[in-house]
Symmetry: C2
Subunit: 99 residues, 2 copies
């Protein structure tokens, strides 16, 4: 039997990152405030996780104005979707193994 945990992506270990990606898998361009509200975390914490995911090119950023207010939104990139999907597949295997 091969080492099954090797297929899990280290970048998606944290709950917050899982949460962000999970939201961005099914919603195109979700803004900062919405993510913050959904995940119930502090500004700084969210910003740092977003930053990490962006450096990995798993998400992309769009800045615009809604009315006269600044609004920053995030979407998962193709690469991000691929990587996250692979991670979920590895998780599912693990779940099946445990069931």
């Amino acid at each position: 039997m091969k080492n099954f945990i090797a297929d899990l992506n280290k970048s998606f270990e944290s709950r917050v990152r899982l949460g962000i990606m999970s939201i961005l898998m099914v919603n195109d361009f979700v803004d900062f405030g919405t993510l913050k509200e959904q995940l119930q975390i502090t500004d700084g914490n969210l910003a740092s996780h977003i930053n990490a995911l962006e450096k990995l090119e798993y998400i992309q950023i769009r800045k615009q104005f809604v009315g006269k207010k600044p609004n920053t939104s995030y979407a998962s990139s193709e690469e991000g979707k691929k990587a996250f999907t692979e991670h979920l597949i590895a998780l599912e295997k693990l779940i099946k193994k445990s069931g």
Copy 2:
């Protein structure tokens, strides 16, 4: 909608911990060497994760001799199984959401 990542158990975030629990969910009393081989990690790393899980009372330890060699084995406790199952359920919800 409620905060779905709150149901994820922080103790099971790491790949190694996921791996250990996953193995112990379906095997009763797996020994140190076997875990190490399956997970392909160093002695110290495995020992520290085991230690953490034991402090949480998620696993239990049995020390014995096999032939004349010392042999330490680990099994998941009822509480550990419960906690891990809940974690997996939370993960599955997240996976479904992302699908």
